[in-house]
Structures are given as C-alpha cells and as structure tokens.
Symmetry: C2
C-alpha cells in the first residue's frame, strides 16, 4: 500500500493539493495550523515522525504551503532527532533555503521521496504569457530591473519579490514576506517621481538555489488585491517558477482592478 503524505502549510495551496490527491495523509508542523484538518508533528521529533510515515505505508511526500521556521524547544527533542540538531541549526543560520534543504535530505535518508506540487496539479504553475490586462513598455522595463535585482540577491537567500516603479526599487521582500512588502510599498507609493508615470510592478521569482520540489513562491487572489492596494500596474513572475493559486478568482480580481498578470519568460 503506497500512500502520499501532505505536509500542509498555511495558505490556500494545501487544500488544493489535498483535493487533487486520493486519500492522502495530512500533517502540519505543530503551532502552524493550516486551513485543513492535519495531524501535528514537531520538528524536534522529526525522526520518530518519519518512522510513523513509513509505518503508515507512505512513500511520497508533498510539501504544500508556507511553513515558517518554528521556534525549537530544547527539551522536546527525542535522542535520534537531537543528533540532527547541529546539522539543522547550522543550516538555519544560512537562511530558509538551506534549512529546508537539510530537512528534505533527512526525509530522503529515511526512504521518502519528495514530490513537487506540479506533479500533483500540473496547471498550478502557469507557463509564459500575459494572463490578464496589458503590459506597457515601461512595465517591461520595471520588470527587467526587478528581475535583475532578485538575481543579484539570489546568493543571499533573502526574498522572492521586489517592487519597482519608474526604474526605482520601492521594496524588496525579506523575512516578513510578500504581504508585508506590498503593504510597505502601498505606504510609500507617493515616492514615485512622476505621479502620472508608470505605476510599477510586483515581480516574483524563485530563488536561484531554491529546491523547486518544495516552497515555490505562490501568488493568488490576495496578492492581486494587495498589489492593487499598492497602486501597482501589475504582477509579473518567472514563468514556470511560481504557483498561481485559484487562477479564476485571481484573474477576476485583476480584471476588476485593472491589473495585468504576466508570466515572464
């Protein structure tokens, strides 16, 4: 009996993935309750948790949705997971990507295969094209610049987004995430030099070193609403590298707000 386990994070990706699977087992990191029914597990007891997956007949694991790094309770570790602590803590110092890569390695060392969400729901990840609205030349220049900035930041494992308007960088995504960054951009939208000029773009891309089986950046209807509140012209992302959740509703909101949605090659 081969079953799939879903590690559900917060947000709307987990319900979509679960709905697309046949009777998956659903788990979530303790303290980060997702929007679906899930059995909690603690990172401090990772090895016994993986044992329980194997015992339940699980062979494949899908990570679905945002997982924040947990605060670790030193007293909660079991002896075998405790031996992994130096490895995982060391990786955490290098950022989210490195920490997650290290945790994935532990899954694989325990005979579990990590599946990307695109293997479960292929059309979650749009390929190249303008999905809504129209993209001006100024928007294309702003997108070029934002993409260059994120490429430059790649080695530092920081964020996956930036806001650029009229060639100027209004915001860069850091640990607090996309919504916080777009709120910041909204608060400072008045700084665009030409009030009648290009309104700017929100650009999103995976980090170059990111493991694409898990933790691909995600946008969705709420992102559209937040980008509209920041007065932006549209949202542009690296085609093939970003999950678009609830595509119909995202397109509806983009059309209603006059925003473009563009999967850029």
């Amino acid at each position: 009996m081969s079953r799939v386990a879903v590690i559900a994070g917060q947000g709307r990706l987990a319900p979509a993935v679960i709905a697309a699977l046949d009777d998956p087992l659903v788990y979530a990191l303790d303290g980060f309750a997702p929007d679906v029914a899930a059995t909690p597990f603690r990172l401090e007891r990772l090895v016994p948790f993986l044992d329980s997956l194997i015992e339940a007949g699980v062979e494949r694991v899908v990570f679905a949705g945002a997982i924040r790094r947990p605060r670790l309770d030193p007293e909660a570790f079991d002896p075998r997971t405790a031996q992994l602590v130096p490895r995982i803590l060391g990786a955490m110092q290098s950022g989210d990507d490195a920490a997650l890569r290290e945790v994935l390695k532990v899954f694989e060392e325990n005979d579990l295969t990590i599946c990307g969400v695109d293997e479960v729901i292929p059309d979650l990840i749009p390929s190249e094209g303008v999905l809504a609205g129209t993209v001006s030349d100024a928007d294309r220049r702003d997108a070029d610049r934002a993409a260059a900035i994120l490429t430059g930041l790649g080695p530092f494992d920081i964020g996956q987004g930036a806001v650029v308007a009229q060639g100027l960088c209004l915001a860069i995504e850091t640990l607090p995430g996309t919504a916080a960054m777009l709120e910041f951009a909204a608060a400072h939208a008045g700084l665009r030099p030409n009030p009648n000029g290009a309104r700017g773009v929100f650009y999103k891309a995976p980090k170059p070193e990111q493991d694409r089986r898990v933790d691909l950046p995600t946008i969705g209807p709420d992102t559209v609403t937040q980008a509209a509140a920041a007065g932006l012209a549209g949202i542009v992302w690296q085609a093939g590298g970003v999950i678009l959740l609830d595509r119909d509703e995202a397109l509806r909101r983009a059309d209603a707000a006059g925003l473009f949605l563009w999967a850029r090659a």
Copy 2:
C-alpha cells in the same frame, strides 16, 4: 573673491556644514526646504543657476544633506537646461547615484569644484572602532551578512542599509529610506526565530559606485532612537564611508538605550 556654495538638503548635516564655513552662500532645491535659510533653485533651470554661482564668485560647492529627486515641470525649463534633459532623465532611469553623478558633471563642466563634507568637517566621518557599547560574536556575524548583502546589491543602486538578526534579513533599505526601513523592522521584530537570541544589527554603507564627495549615507541621534525602537542590538557601518551627525548626542542615546555603535573596517 572665492566663495563656497552649500547645496543644502533636508536634515541636520546642512546646518553643521554651514556653521563650519566662513560666510557661505546657501541654496536648496525648490520644494525641499532645508532647516536653514537658503535661496531656492530649480533643476529645470540648472544652467542659469550655475551661471549665477560663477557670477557670485563661487569656485567650490558642497552638497550637504538629503536631496530627494524632484518632480520636473516640463514648462519650467530654460533652453540651455532643456538641452541637458535627455542626459539627466536617462541617468534618472538608472537610479539616484547615476542621476546625481550626471548633475555633478554639469557643475564641473561649468568650472565649479565639488568638495566633500569631510574636507569641511573632517571628524564627521568616524574611522574604525566601537564608539559605544559592546559587540557580540553574533552581532559580528549579523554585520558580516548585512555587509555581504549590501555588496551584492551594489550594482543595482538601491539602498544603503539592511537589518539582519540571527543570520536572517529582516529589511533592506529601498527608496523610502532608513527611517521607513527601521519602522518596518520594528513592526516585524517578532519574526526572529529565537526570542532570546541575537537582537540584530542595522548596517549602513555607501554604495560601491557612489560619488563619495556627495550623498554619503548619514546616521545620527534619530537613527539611534529608530534602531532602539526596532529592538536591535546596535548600529554598524562602513568605517570612513558614513557621516555620523551630532556624535555626542548619538553616543548619549546609544548608551541610554544599550545599543552599540560600531564603525566596522
């Protein structure tokens, strides 16, 4: 008769520079009234303004304080400045540094010499050392990481600051500036993984391509108060590359708030 002209920006640098000079002529970009008495000039009439400086016997010009890029009124240009528009607008597209470099070139082409504020007040720019408090090993690691991030961002002419705590980047300075970034870091300070761990540092450095005669990044007593409000352990900057305004008051506030101030080599 050789006189010095001060282009006064906002903030506390201009009054300090003016006080250190013998009867300077003081000007400010129209619409950006500094905290000192200043004759306004418009960027749209830059060439006639430079003529007036030469006629007044000015040979040297000091830029003192933050100048935001002005909104340009197409109808306000005189014919000679209008010829510079393609050059300056083109540079503006590449960011603040490029725009300012282009404006400085125009000054120099009109026989004016640009002086750095350190030529006027040498001790404004602290050399290497810990000026207040103590720097922990974790703080040094956070400073290393912040410095690496800013070096990586250098080619993009974005900001001059970053906040790093426990190895994680909480904020990167963009167009809205230092105070906005520290306010953002304060709002999201709770994201530090270990609440009892390193509180993090605010790191400041000039951009690699920056013209150091003008527009060196500036910190001062208000920066100390903002960094304290963000719950940070201290402020660290590139020694020799950052102006520390009102040093006595900045040190007093740092000591009172338990923050370190460190000019890092």
